[in-house]
Assembly symmetry: C2
Homo-oligomer: 219 residues x 2
Amino acid sequence: MKNTVVFDIIGTCFSLDKPRAKLVEFGAPTYALDLWFAQTLRDAFALSHAGGYKPLKQVLEAELPRTMQMLGVDLATTQLASIIESFAELDLQPEALEAFKILNDAGWRLVALTNGSENSTRQLLERANAIDYFDSIFSCDAVEKTKPHLDVYNLVKPNTAIATWMVATHAWDIAGAARAGLKTAFINQQEKGYLAIYPQPEVIALDLVTAASKIVEIA
Amino acid sequence: MKNTVVFDIIGTCFSLDKPRAKLVEFGAPTYALDLWFAQTLRDAFALSHAGGYKPLKQVLEAELPRTMQMLGVDLATTQLASIIESFAELDLQPEALEAFKILNDAGWRLVALTNGSENSTRQLLERANAIDYFDSIFSCDAVEKTKPHLDVYNLVKPNTAIATWMVATHAWDIAGAARAGLKTAFINQQEKGYLAIYPQPEVIALDLVTAASKIVEIA
């Protein structure tokens, strides 16, 4: 069995610039995307922690109008729908394809592990001509708990002694993967810093290419 | 045994206006408090969901500098400390004492159930001359899991058939309490709307006095 790199999808491989730009186009401030996404994850994690579960898209949809109300931004139903739809058109981070290639060329197996749905992830990867780099797509929908619950990482944890790395731009995802026994690479793009109180990553990198190179070098 | 109302503390009984004002005084935008607090809860819930645990104050402290960096706000160490310290000086919501009195006069027992520490909650209630209304203070520190994990609500769930209500301004807290079998009152002040995908509250009220009156009326 091959060494494996597990990629987070939303925010890590794919940029959130499109929904951010949509929100700004509709009169919301630039940080509106960050607030909406943080509140969505907060409430998705909360429900999962309380033993319930809803797919991420439903939480994103439920959270959007009230985040806009908090910010005093008045949006029409068609505008709300258009922001949600932009999640189906996320663009790959500029350096993602090169990072995938570095790992594939070095003989690594790539898998996606996402709090999004398997189907939407497959469509994003196909749309970005990146699907061929990936061996498998795993969604938290399969266990009806969100990352960073350990059951989600157990979907990708091998039984053998091969190297398995998680790459993510969310500290909470790295912390969960580390607790599940994976090696971890934190992409310091979005959250601007790792949390000292969390289990620490093996690699901190500014972008996916640097992370991929370091993983190949270390493992 | 008396009917019981369980109060959430931070944001519900006590206003976040002080740390919000501090942040604005130091050059951060008004929404900075909301983003910081949402990211703090997201990451505290995440760690708890992954089977780890850190007290809320530590997560707040770890999250503050990186939220400021995301927003491009440059703060000195003394300013960061001053913002954290303002959490020890939160003011009661203007209508809180009246709401506590309505419930006490009607023979209800009040308890606090918080993701903050027992000690800091006691100090906040003493400082606000509200401690005498409360029978007990329960903190998630006791079970080393955050609300809305059911183990936290089980700290206050009675074994008898008396009425037990949770009052909170966070949808995720109401959802957890509802899943744990408590009756629930959502204060629609902070989050501006309940989530349709969550278990629904018995009462939605604009302030604590209205919620207290409705609870006494219904129970």
